[in-house]
Amino acid sequence: MSTSAKPIANTRSATGIPTARLITWWVIASEIVIFGGLLATYVMHRIGHPEWADSASHTLTWAGAFNTFVLLTSSLCAVLAHKAADARDGPRAAKLLRVTSLGGLIFLSVKAYEWTIDIREGFVLSSGGFWSFYYALAGLHALHVLAGMIILLIVAADAAKNRELQRVECIGLYWHFVDIVWIFLFPLLYIAR
């Protein structure tokens, strides 16, 4: 598929910004609005319902903190992969992207463990306002982590053969975005009282 001829439209750059980077930023912009809408809704409801703090105190803050650390570290790997791609070192970029993807796997595993505990304690999606938002927000974010992991591996497979190296930067941008969303979610869901 990637060997098929690209249209000239794809290779032009009237703005001076590479097309791949440009579309990545637009995708991120559209994602910001989706997460932004949900987060703003949550924050407004949270302000209106101080009693939700009781529910929030049941979240596993240490697990969330560990996951924050994992995601930030994986983002560092994404940056190093970008640096390797800039140096035209595809195999090294591929290796670093796979490590980044592994970070996503650790994140989701911790999440699964955490949610198992939550659910065993009886806190499910329909257990009340806070828990509905908790699972909806973290679930939407987890879906983005999962999608990012898969794309990271696809980009890595190409990069290993020194192909489509411009994509390394793009998936990195996306991964940082997913990371930043978590930076918002962690305090709002786990720490805020």
Binding site: M1, I8, N10, A14, I23, S30, T41, H45
Partner: protein, 561 residues
């Protein structure tokens, strides 16, 4: 570069490859166009059925049967949803955008052809999902196209539990399709323009579609999140919109209209763009105030994000907030009015040719004005409280949406038909179709302004059933409206005949039948795969018409001085 164009042109795809799995922007445009036209036929049929119920209550409707209350609710819900999400959006933005953006900015395809194909496939899936909801138990969703909870959130209230969920999934998929398509349009226009095409050399239609895509992208996100929350409420017993459980039904109204009102401008701007192109060509005059048109469009886009709560004046919002939203709503009519003035100024002193596309473009201005002016009454919270949810609202937004999604689309279709299919449409049939559409359209909706002002509530399946709503003295107006609708629908067959007959038997169109200056008219009709034999360079703006001292009265964008 030429070798790449050749290699694309030499690929000989099979039927399935060419028409169902193509990444060619022109084929995808046709897929969107024909899907949209098929959905328009369905939506029009629904309008016929429920108007028959209102015009001739509780009688057997020919071609449908008896309209029960539940069926009536489903019919009006589906009519609204289909016409906005599966007709206006795919035709105005996706079909015209896909066909024209690469041609007008002078490149061989979209920047991301496979994302483009994916966009159509998701859109088709969403249409099929919606149509499939007609087959489930309880029938399609009947909670109005705005889907307000608690009615939409609880199957026990709306009586269409499966249909409601399928409607929601279909709408969400449709949003995803247009996010993908819109981002592609934006990136293509930003990056893939022909050398020499500067910001203010971009044809107005392309600008409008890109602005519409950006407005759509910025407004739909919260509703996508809101749709997921409603889905959870429907299927997983959450209480996001349930006040008994810490939720808030008003939240949906805010999320819906934060998208829903910008959406009006998402479809309006491309319609304005089509009209701008047509006016300049048929007045043989430069578009008056290109930059001002553009700046007013930006102003409209910005203001469209701060007017949404004017849909909620009776929903119990703070009256102080209602005042603010009244002011912003009245403000947005300023840039729109300015745009219309600029279009009229384009006509002034022009050499006007009344071909069919021009008739449609002029019709758009005249009819849309009525829609805009009646909107003032609804934007002011005082009058809106009286007129809310009456037929006045119905008449108002049909005076905006019909010019946008029907009249401007016909302007565009009749204008670009030669470029799309390489044949000319029949002018006489085109003019019959124009008058046969525009006159009955006014006869449908002017009576509804009157019944609405007299107090007829919308979404009532039979007035006779409700003593305080009956008002038999208004029945002749309701019946008039129904008969006019049947006449208008009948005249659409003239268009369909003209459309399909001309595909084979129309006069062959040369490259530039309208003597137009934009890039798509510099190549053969229909354009070959890969579009331009030699990719153009642009030397000037798109509207160089009425030039004295030249062999032709216009200068194409790609001809050097």
């Amino acid at each position: 570069m030429t070798t790449q164009v050749e290699s694309l042109a030499h690929a000989r795809p099979g039927f399935f490859q060419k028409y169902c799995w193509s990444t060619d922007h022109k084929i995808i445009a046709m897929q969107y166009l024909f899907t949209g036209m098929a959905m328009a036929a369905i939506g029009g049929y629904f309008a016929y059925v429920f108007r028959m119920q209102l015009g001739f209550p509780n009688q057997h409707v020919p071609g449908y049967g008896l309209v029960t209350p539940g069926k009536y609710n489903a019919l009006v819900t589906m009519h609204g949803s289909i016409m906005i999400f599966w007709v206006a959006m795919p035709i105005l933005i996706a079909a015209f955008g896909n066909f024209l953006i690469p041609l007008m900015v002078g490149c061989d395809d979209m920047a991301f052809p496979r994302i483009n194909r994916l966009s159509y496939q998701i859109f088709l899936l969403s249409a099929l999902m919606l149509l499939a909801s007609f087959l489930v138990k309880g029938g399609p969703f009947g909670g109005a196209w705005t889907a307000y909870p608690p009615l939409s959130a609880n199957g026990a209230y709306n009586l269409t539990p499966a249909g409601a969920t399928m409607w929601l999934i279909a709408v969400a998929l449709e949003f995803v399709a247009f996010l993908l398509g819109g981002i592609n349009f934006t990136v293509t226009t930003m990056n893939s323009r022909a050398p020499g095409m500067k910001m203010f050399d971009i044809p107005m239609l392309v600008w409008m579609i890109v602005l519409a895509s950006i407005i759509f992208m910025a407004s739909v996100g919260p509703l996508i999140a809101g749709a997921v929350m409603l889905l959870f409420d429907q299927t997983m017993a959450t209480g996001f919109y349930d006040p008994m459980r810490g939720g808030d039904p008003l939240l949906w109204q805010h999320l819906f209209w934060f998208f829903g009102h910008p959406e009006v401008y998402v479809v309006l701007l491309p319609a304005m763009g089509i009209v701008a192109e047509v006016l300049a060509v048929f007045a043989r005059k430069k578009l008056f105030g290109y930059k001002t048109v553009l700046y007013t469009a930006w102003a409209v886009g910005f203001l469209s994000f701060v007017v949404w709560a004017h849909h909620q004046f009776v929903a119990g919002i703070d009256p102080r907030m209602a005042n603010i939203f009244s002011i912003t709503t009245l403000l947005i009519s300023v840039p729109i009015a300015e745009m219309v003035f600029l279009y009229i100024a384009t006509l002034y002193g022009g050499s006007i040719h009344l071909d069919t596309p021009m008739l449609w473009a002029l019709g758009f201005i005249a009819e849309f004005l009525v829609g805009g002016v009646t909107g003032i009454f609804l934007g002011a919270s005082g009058t809106d409280i009286y007129l809310h949810d009456t037929y006045f609202v119905i008449a108002h937004f049909h005076y905006t949406f019909v010019p946008i999604a029907i009249i401007a689309v016909y302007a565009g279709l009749t204008f670009w038909y030669p470029k799309m299919f390489g044949r000319m449409l029949n002018e006489t049939l085109g003019k019959i179709h124009f008058w046969g559409t525009v006159i009955p359209f006014n006869v449908i909706f002017i009576p509804l302004f009157i019944t609405g002002t007299a107090g007829d509530q919308r979404r009532v399946y039979s007035y006779a059933q409700f003593a305080e709503q009956a008002r038999p003295e208004l029945q002749h107006l309701r019946t008039t409206s129904t008969i006019a609708l049947i006449v208008m629908l009948a005249f659409q067959f003239v268009f369909l005949f003209n459309f399909f007959w001309s595909l084979r038997h129309g006069k062959r169109a040369d490259a530039n039948p309208w003597r137009s200056a934009t890039l798509e008219w510099t190549i053969p009709s229909p354009p070959p795969h890969g579009n331009f034999a030699e990719l153009p360079t642009v030397y000037r703006g798109p509207y160089e018409y009425g030039l004295p001292g030249h062999a032709q009265d216009f200068l194409p964008q790609n001809v050097p001085d």
